[in-house]
């Protein structure tokens, strides 16, 4: 296990390193001067030079990257804003706030959105998939399959607005989506996120229903499931302890990937529901050509994906003893 973790975490770090380098390089592929943005109306060359120094962009690109990298691990001294402790992802070009703090501040929103939606779609999707598998070919199966298919064909911004219109504005069943920290007001937290969760879930559930169903159907036809039945175990026992066990692997895999992507930014969702999460931060940093923020967000997103990949593999090994971690 330790070997596995060491190896995978090293691999993950390398991937993140490459991703950050690519992002860095691509950002500068278009000639533009971030200093110009903060220089404002009365910009003199001295001002520009000062701002460049403050932002730490008065070096060649590789050197900048090196300083940035060093900052991440060892902290870094900024001309304009003093020392920035490790992990230092720099200061935003657009409004000079520390990137790390901003991201940490936005993270709870995105995490709430992601985990909440994940809980909803996992429960709904897997539940529906199980029912469908149990009632193969019956009405319930057909219903679950087609409903899920319809769900997966919808777009967040399409359903999102319609749902807001009907459920919030017209019927008043749900609250306007909004963000309140859980620690501040759990009820508001919940009611503000309920609609985004549901909308996200509609779209994701489909995939889980289908996958759960197909996995279970496949597993149920496995020889070892037949053996279990031949031993005299009850249907329910066989279903949950044998078939479901086998079906879990791929579901966990996809779940991990989805969770990683969601945390990396449910950009469209956050945009649709005006939630102040990582996704919107990303859009904003793109709008403002804010490299440090963009880098931070990209790394967070990639990190989430990589992290959940490792988790998935570890969980997979727990589920399936045939897989050895190394």
């Amino acid at each position: 296990m330790l070997r596995f973790l060491v190896r995978r975490v090293t691999g993950a770090l390398v991937i993140l390193l490459i991703i950050s380098a690519i992002t860095f390089w691509l950002f500068y592929a278009v000639p533009r001067d971030p200093a110009m943005m903060s220089c404002g109306k009365n910009c003199t060359p001295e001002n520009l030079a000062q701002i460049r120094k403050n932002l730490g962009i008065d070096h060649s690109i590789p050197v900048q990257y090196w300083y940035w990298l060093k900052g991440v691990f060892a902290g870094r001294d900024y001309a304009g804003y003093g020392y920035c402790d490790a992990p230092c992802f720099g200061y935003s070009f657009a409004n000079n706030v520390p990137v790390f703090e901003t991201i940490m501040d936005r993270l709870p929103t995105t995490l709430s959105l992601a985990f909440g939606a994940a809980a909803v779609f996992l429960v709904l999707g897997v539940g529906a998939g199980m029912l469908a598998a149990l009632k193969q070919g019956r009405f319930l199966d057909k219903f679950a399959s087609s409903a899920s298919l319809l769900g997966s064909s919808l777009q967040i911004y399409f359903v999102g607005y319609i749902a807001m219109y009907y459920f919030v504005a017209q019927l008043g069943w749900l609250d306007q989506p909004s963000w309140t920290p859980f620690s501040e007001d759990p009820v508001a937290w919940f009611s503000g996120l309920l609609l985004p969760w549901l909308v996200l879930a509609i779209i994701f559930t489909a995939n889980y229903t289908r996958m759960t169903r197909s996995q279970l159907v496949e597993q149920l036809s496995e020889d070892y499931v037949r053996t279990a039945r031949a031993k005299g175990l009850s249907r329910a026992n066989v279903f949950f302890r044998f078939a479901w066990r086998g079906a879990m692997g791929p579901i966990v895999t996809v779940f991990g990937i989805d969770l990683g992507t969601l945390i990396g930014g449910a950009i469209i969702t956050e945009q649709t529901f005006s939630l102040p999460g990582i996704g919107r931060l990303a859009v904003k940093s793109v709008d403002q050509s804010d490299l440090p923020m963009l880098l931070g967000v990209t790394l967070l997103a990639a990190g989430a994906i990589v992290f959940f990949n490792i988790i998935v593999d570890a969980v997979y090994a727990l589920i399936d003893p045939r897989i050895r971690l190394a």
Binding site: D223, R226, A230, P321
Partner: protein
């Protein structure tokens, strides 16, 4: 059959198992009857696809009831199984009757330890505690010759070798001392040396517990080694049955004869070509009319009037011995004699 006085432990009458598939109805088993006696071994031989496994899955009631039409009668110790409820069947399976499958790796759950899988059966049917059943599992493993069973009990199937897996399967099947054991080609995937080990094991265990065994194989050599009675299946039907000696030494059906004569052996002369059955097995979707074997039968034209392609020969059983062929007894004696002799050599 030699001992007619005995009540059959399992009795199958006119069993029909039909699957409805996209392409039509597969008549996998079409009117099959046989008996298994207590403490005896019935060997079922037949080519791939002849319905051996389907028959035995029907006995255990493991077919998907929605998609399978099963007719006939299966009496286990005078209990009708086809009409039994799922609950009743669950109580019988693994307890009174159990099964060993061919592909042990696929048939053992990869997610649970060998010990758990064995113990589970025991607990289910005896209500023993966890620790009791674990002890029982270790004992069973030792019984089937797994070295260091206390250690190996916590291994997963993939950590076992092929032969050991098959032994574990056997241990699992026998953990509740079943009265009927169905072994579906338990040795086909194994090497000859390991096959010999497993067959010896089965024989020993049968002697010890008096279990009735149905042994499925397509290898007549294995039948010769282990079975008391033999049932030869072809295209979902029984073409011949009798004791091992009767069937192997004086086959009454051209198919059995063909099987015997197409087998290379360690002491046949080598320079003569083998004597294969021409053609290939029949489609069960669209089985040949009349005798299902007639397209491949070298004697079909010996029966006048093309009877073979029109009419299904009945299986006439006397004293447990019978065959389903239009050839007259005389014809058989004439055509088969030298052959049978050579086969028995």
């Amino acid at each position: 059959m030699t001992s007619t006085d005995q009540q059959p432990f399992l009795s199958v009458r006119d069993l029909k198992v039909h699957f409805s598939t996209e392409d039509g109805i597969v008549k996998a088993v079409d009117g099959l009857s046989f008996d298994v006696l207590k403490g005896k071994t019935l060997g079922i031989v037949g080519e791939s696809g002849s319905g051996k496994s389907v028959t035995n899955l029907a006995v255990l009631g493991l077919h998907d009831r929605d998609r399978t039409a099963i007719e006939g009668e299966i009496l286990l110790d005078d209990k009708e199984l086809l009409t039994a409820s799922e609950k009743e069947l669950e109580r019988l399976r693994g307890n009174k009757m159990s099964m060993i499958f061919q592909d042990a790796l696929a048939s053992l759950s990869p997610y649970h330890t060998i010990g758990k899988q064995i113990a589970e059966t025991y607990r289910k049917h005896t209500g023993a505690s966890k620790s009791q059943s674990r002890v029982r599992a270790i004992e069973m493993l030792r019984r089937v010759g797994i070295p260091q069973p206390e250690v190996r009990v916590d291994d997963y199937p993939h950590q076992f070798s092929g032969g050991m897996r098959q032994r574990a399967m056997i241990a699992m099947a026998l953990v509740c001392d079943p009265e009927l054991l169905i072994a579906d080609e338990p040795t086909t995937a194994l090497d000859v040396t390991v096959q010999a080990q497993i067959m010896d094991l089965l024989k020993d265990l049968q002697q010890e517990f008096g279990t009735a065994i149905i042994f499925i194989t397509h290898d007549l050599g294995v039948i010769a080694d282990i079975a008391d009675d033999v049932l030869v299946m072809y295209g979902g039907r029984c073409v011949e049955r009798g004791t091992k000696r009767e069937v192997l030494q004086s086959p009454q059906h051209p198919y059995t004869l063909g099987l015997l004569s197409s087998m290379p052996s360690l002491d046949h002369p080598v320079d003569v070509p083998l004597n294969p059955i021409p053609g290939s097995p029949p489609s069960l979707l669209n089985p040949p009319t009349g005798c299902r074997f007639h397209p491949r039968c070298t004697f079909a034209e010996k029966v006048e009037g093309g009877l073979c392609s029109r009419e299904q020969p009945p299986l006439e059983v006397t004293n447990g011995r019978g065959s389903a062929c239009h050839l007259t007894a005389g014809q058989r004696a004439e055509y088969f004699s030298d052959l049978a002799g050579s086969a028995a050599n």
